[in-house]
């Protein structure tokens, strides 16, 4: 339930810069909102998102409560060799989610 959505091109040429898009379900509760009875709703956000390409980190983001719910990222990397892109989201309350996508480089 609620798996991340990853979008990468099926095939890329060696040396080509290609685009990666990711979407994940997460409430990103900022911790500044209150219930109708005046209680503060505690913060519950994704704090780090990272992407590794065949084991080497190519992108990392430190997130703050200002990032919208269902965090979306669109970023780039250079096609070096075929392999796997690994994605990781880590957050409050022990939140941890991973996903991966294969990339074919010709």
């Amino acid at each position: 339930m609620a798996r991340p959505l990853i979008n990468v091109p099926a095939k890329v040429k060696r040396g080509q810069v290609f685009e990666i898009k990711t979407l994940i379900s997460h409430i990103m509760e900022p911790g500044f909102r209150f219930t109708t009875t005046g209680d503060k709703i505690p913060r519950d956000i994704v704090t780090t998102f990272s992407c590794s390409y065949n084991g080497e980190e190519i992108f990392r983001a430190d997130l703050y409560p200002a990032i919208s719910a269902n965090p979306f990222f669109d970023f780039f990397t250079v096609a070096t060799e075929s392999g796997t892109l690994d994605f990781k989201w880590v957050g409050d309350n022990g939140f941890s989610e991973t996903a991966s996508a294969k990339i074919v480089v010709e």
């Binding site: 979407l23 994940i24 409430i27």
Partner: protein, 269 residues
């Protein structure tokens, strides 16, 4: 109320009052319908980025729910251990056009039901599974997945004479003043669409794309959730989820939007 010495003979002031009252009643019962060729989806009023979010499945947050819906469609469930796919096979074929013609008449309920209620009816009748809660992630995911199959198709309310009294009931609700603000849906969305209310554009309120990813909710939600929001905005008590009033309103709104194209799942502010 301050006392005023009437400057006109009492009979004329009384007649004027009655005429004004009748006018008020008449105009509140029959708001002016938007001419068919002037109807427009709220999509057209979106900013550039929101339009892009809706148009591109790779960046539309609603795609997360559609993906979940597809998984649920194929998952065996209930005492009958049956998946939607077991009866309906490939949703991209069997569900094409379905959301565009809901709400539809249900013999079991002897009245109209919306898509979410139809899904729950299927669960109880054919899967022996308990109903999914209103606005639950699972129900919205299935509704979004089924609705997605009608994207691009024209809203086509069924030509079913059994629905007529319910459409009329919905129309009456649409034209009824409610709440402390004491206004009807029609007064904003039929009579003043395109104008601004406190800096925001008043849309026509055409339900072209439910369930929607509403930026205000930061989540996917149904038409009934949106209607309940509107009603509480007027400081009126909103009807409960599944209440016949909500379904009749949905039915009327979809009839009012007939011919406009489905955009499910849409993005709206």
């Amino acid at each position: 109320m301050s006392r005023r010495t009437p400057r006109v003979p009492p009979i004329i002031s009384r007649v004027t009052t009655i005429v004004c009252l009748l006018f008020a009643i008449a105009s509140s019962v029959h708001g002016t319908d938007i001419p068919l060729d002037q109807r427009r989806s709220g999509y057209l009023d979106l900013g550039h980025d929101s339009k892009a979010m809706q148009d591109d499945d790779t960046i539309n947050p609603a795609a997360l729910w559609v993906q979940d819906g597809e998984a649920l469609w194929n998952q065996k469930t209930g005492a009958a251990s049956r998946a939607c796919a077991d009866c309906h096979q490939d949703a991209t074929i069997s569900m094409k056009g379905v959301a565009a013609r809901y709400p539809a008449f249900s013999v079991a309920r002897n009245g109209p039901i919306n898509l979410e209620q139809r899904i729950n009816l299927c669960r109880s009748e054919h899967q022996q599974a308990p109903p999914l809660a209103s606005e639950s992630r699972e129900l919205l995911a299935l509704s979004a997945y089924v609705g997605r199959q009608s994207r691009g198709m024209q809203i086509a309310p069924p030509d079913d004479s059994r629905l007529v009294p319910f459409v009329e009931a919905g129309r009456k609700l649409f034209n009824r003043r409610i709440g402390q603000i004491d206004m009807s849906c029609a007064q904003c969305h039929d009579d003043n669409w395109g104008k601004k209310l406190a800096g925001s554009l008043i849309p026509q309120a055409q339900p072209t794309g439910y369930p929607i990813y509403r930026l205000e909710w930061q989540s996917l939600g149904s038409l009934q959730r949106r209607l309940r929001n509107c009603m509480s905005g007027l400081r009126a008590e909103a009807y409960e989820y599944g209440a016949p009033e909500n379904v009749n309103l949905e039915l009327f709104l979809m009839w009012r939007a007939r011919g406009l194209r489905e955009e499910t799942p849409a993005v709206r502010p």
